[in-house]
Symmetry: C2
Subunit: 226 residues, 2 copies
Amino acid sequence: MRKAVVLLSGGLDSATVLAMAKKQGFACHALSVDYGQRHRAELDAAARVAQALGAAAHKTVRFDLTTFGGSALTDPNIAVPTQGMIKDGIPITYVPARNSILLSLALAWAEVLDAQDIFIGANAVDYSGYPDCRPEYMKAFERMANLATRTAVEGAPLVLQTPIIAMTKEQIIRQGMKLGVDYALTVSCYQADADGRACGVCDSCRLRKAGFDAAGLPDPTRYWPQ
Amino acid sequence: MRKAVVLLSGGLDSATVLAMAKKQGFACHALSVDYGQRHRAELDAAARVAQALGAAAHKTVRFDLTTFGGSALTDPNIAVPTQGMIKDGIPITYVPARNSILLSLALAWAEVLDAQDIFIGANAVDYSGYPDCRPEYMKAFERMANLATRTAVEGAPLVLQTPIIAMTKEQIIRQGMKLGVDYALTVSCYQADADGRACGVCDSCRLRKAGFDAAGLPDPTRYWPQ
């Protein structure tokens, strides 16, 4: 059985990608990274999702991006914006070099596992302001990765799989529902509470809610008590 | 003053690179990474070197590559080879995707600092078996980095500086001595003791010793008591 490393945040997108990788027949090695996010609920969700979707393994690597600051998601001095933050330019919730770091960690594990495939739930539609969610970035990472590892030397090329990069949230949700993803297990909110309940107003919550609406499906998200 | 992020392991090569970056007029932000190395002596050395060479700042990011295993430098079940380990192929001391991870962390800090230069003491002469020490890998990383960050969007390109990539150990030592590097502060040994004293027999020790010999300079390295 071919092995894959699947980056798993515990959110809607990466849960869908895990289900898609599983469906393609991969033994999925789910990788979560605790980089100093504001809350642990997302990482708890990742563990639930990995189990529910039958991942072959699940690891969480801890390191502290708060050392550098510079993002609302890792710097306690920058507030998470709640209204109208989706606009031109790079959102303040962008985490510097996040995908490069996550993918490099995935690359390390892939090399140890002798896995040739890495899956990431990056999306260039919703996150058009994040430079490291664009297809051209992904291509450049894949090229770099193929020069970085034993793989490059020994001739078994690494493939960076980005199956939802061009999908709308509606399409992602429809795909996941077809594959049996239980989205009630996932947490997308930038400021979920300790129980994994969502704020309903941050960018990520609004995108997610709009996706369920557009798909004409009930939103299983648990929200903060009003 | 232009800012640079300089990866600093505490070894001979990266200490030399820090001195070179300083000489070029950069405000040097030294970055060390604790990825689960076998010993802490190298990180202690990094702090001493950063101070001695007048780095503008020094940060250490901790994360745990032992999670993945697969290298003599991070897996306690794999012994550090001591004799004749320099040969064709990839040495067992190669750490999977190490430079990709280190450079991605440097990229994150560079972006927060608004620094356009990252320095790394990679060397393709001594470490010809490490795929991620080759110039073509460095070029591919630089290209990826320029698509990954605000920099890419806002048009101030990132430069990955590899000033010693093609130098012999002798040349590196001569360069560092000229710039006033105190190599007694540095630790290169793969299995240094808690005081930073070197084994004298591992690959890294043998390369270092041969470099001082070739340069006709006294070796200031402190070795284990015989």
